[in-house]
Amino acid sequence: MSTDKINIKDHIIEALSDADLRKAVYKATASTSVSRLNTTEAIPYWEECRVKTHCIKKDVIENLDKYLELFEKNAKNNGINIHWAIDGNDAKNILSEIAKKNNVKTIVKSKSLTTEEIHLNEFLIGNNIDTVETDLGEYIVQLNDQVPSHLVAPALHLSRTDIGKLFKDKLNVPFTDVPEELLLIARKKLREKFLSAEMSITGVNFAFAENGSFCVVENEANAHLSLSLPQVHVAVMGIEKLLPSIDELPYFLKLLAPSATGQKSSSYVNFIGGPSLQKYNEGPKEVHVILLDNGRSKILADPKLRETLYCIRCGACLNVCPVYQQIGGHAYDWTYMGPIGITLIPQYLGEIEGKDAPFLSSLCGACADVCPVKIKLPQHILELRKNVVQKNKSKIFEKFAMKTWIAVSTHPKLYRLFSWKIKKLQSFIPVEYLKLPGYHKKRSFPGIDKKGFREQYYQMKKNNNEQ
């Protein structure tokens, strides 16, 4: 379990007061959701493919020990060095040993949420290793001393003007807010790094037990350059990333790009099956895979929640989540955000540290509708909420309110009396004075409708009869 401390509430208040941020997040997520819909609707077997990938993931997770051992054996046969890391510290020590042994001064990194999870950059930079993110979005957030605010689009919260100013300040270049020019600046700086780095670090999208290889999916070609230019390559892989064999991959590729960005296919899928320098006279002389647990086996131990390990990190659930759309990714204060984030936060950080996370959902169900591998997110969110309540971590006020609600809502006459009283009461107390949990000066309580449902319903019925 991670020992990270998070502060969701303060971050939410901060996010809600930033109108530009909310606008940027809403615009980006809404347009990606539209592209996603257009692409998925054109695939006539989309739903069947979702069921298929769900079943494949279920098989992998239910037999994880066997697949891990098989992957290890076959990867070793391919000349890949396999390391096992129980947590972030373990993984960092392994990486530091590899870097020391190879006299590494510069590392190029390609987008990897697993390494964000263990705060790898901080560690490497602290050890005097120049560590550079090479995915454009990641490069931008790294320059801005931030972490990604979205699983797929790390700099989604920043405008082109923000990025122009950032480049001017940090890279000493004239200001521009033209995306093509900004990209050219980053491309030039990063090309130098690719050519001089001694080591690269990537994540893993899928690894194949049957042949001991793995693949990295991307659009920019930064992962490819990371994999092929430095002499040492290290892939940090969550233990759940396995597939039985390469034969299952096309089903996942069919779902991943449309769900993530609305593309039919990602630009590049890189397959790594061992060191290539000796064989091809280019590429790494050493390939290492670090199999990271970091709380995953604990998630596996819960037979209800283990389904959350099926996630392929496409980010589709974030894009449709009304809560994420309002507060953006940084408000969650951890690596994973949105509907999948709020199921993972309490599981990784523990129920006390992660007690607020499962409540960041309207339970509208949109996340479950879009999840390519059919994770029943709302069901898991409810389960985690139940855990918080059962372990007495809910506030006395909430408990009292819920008990009152149960009593009132199960007795119609009492309900009518209660709502009449409340309606009357609110004409004496202005809503801004109602200090209800979840409401504050950035988000005021909307008040109770003066007419109420019953009155409106009978009025509607009467109108219909008269017509």
């Binding site: 069947e48 039919k264 091809y280 006279n281 596996l300």
Partner: protein, 226 residues
């Protein structure tokens, strides 16, 4: 206890409790297969035109030719128009034939054969070149994807370090979709490969699409229909 033993024992003990998810009684495989099959194009001309339509959508381009000689002539025209005089190329069979054909008529062009350079020199030299000619082993028409097997090309520097890539592929190696590709592909060669769909791209700045993020900005595929 080593980390390996710890992780495996934790995983094994976690799996002693069975998942709460109900076993699915329906098998989806037959239905899925039949639905996928309905989308498969089998006619050669349909596959070509699908590839050409799809590559446009991902900002690439394509030309269909009837022979390696015609491919050579087309490439020569493109290179003259681009005013290129140094080209990176691989030593695969079609690339070699095309190179020799072009050199016969255009002695101003200098070809740098990536495979002939040692590792360090290859990196330095190819990264300074703008244009590359490469050979794909397969193409997938449904998504305009090219498949490069390292066992055959033994390099990927021309494919990724140059700004403008011209890729040659035989129409006989055009697969309808990735499902057929993965059935057909040699599993040992598939250990090290890369699948490429269009030029490199990013939309990380306000979702504006910009080509040439870190890899090529321009990709032309020459489909050789012998």
């Amino acid at each position: 206890m080593s980390s390996r033993e710890k992780i495996l024992s934790q995983v094994k003990s976690a799996l002693r409790t069975k998942s709460h998810e109900e076993e699915s009684k329906i098998t989806i495989d037959e239905l899925l297969k039949s639905k996928i099959n309905l989308t498969v194009k089998t006619n050669k001309n349909d596959l070509i035109s699908q590839f050409q339509t799809e590559i446009k959508k991902v900002n690439g381009d394509s030309i269909v030719v009837k022979s390696n000689l015609e491919a050579s002539n087309k490439i020569n025209e493109i290179l003259i128009e681009a005013k290129e005089n140094q080209i990176a190329i691989t030593d695969q069979n079609i690339c070699t034939e095309v190179r020799l054909n072009i050199q016969k008529g255009n002695s101003n062009l200098q070809f740098i054969i990536a495979n002939n350079l040692d590792s360090k020199e290859r990196k330095e030299k190819i990264s300074q070149l703008k244009t590359a000619i490469v050979q794909a082993d397969y193409a997938v028409s449904e998504i305009a994807q090219l498949v490069f097997l390292y066992d055959n090309s033994k390099t990927s520097y021309p494919h990724f370090l140059c700004d403008f890539v011209i890729a040659l592929v035989k129409v006989s190696n055009l697969m309808p979709n990735q499902f057929t590709l993965f059935e057909k592909i040699d599993k040992v060669k598939a250990l090290n490969m890369v699948l490429v769909t269009g030029p490199s791209r990013t939309a990380d700045i306000e979702k504006v699409l910009v080509l040439g993020a870190h890899g090529p900005r321009k990709l032309i595929v020459i489909l050789i229909d012998e």
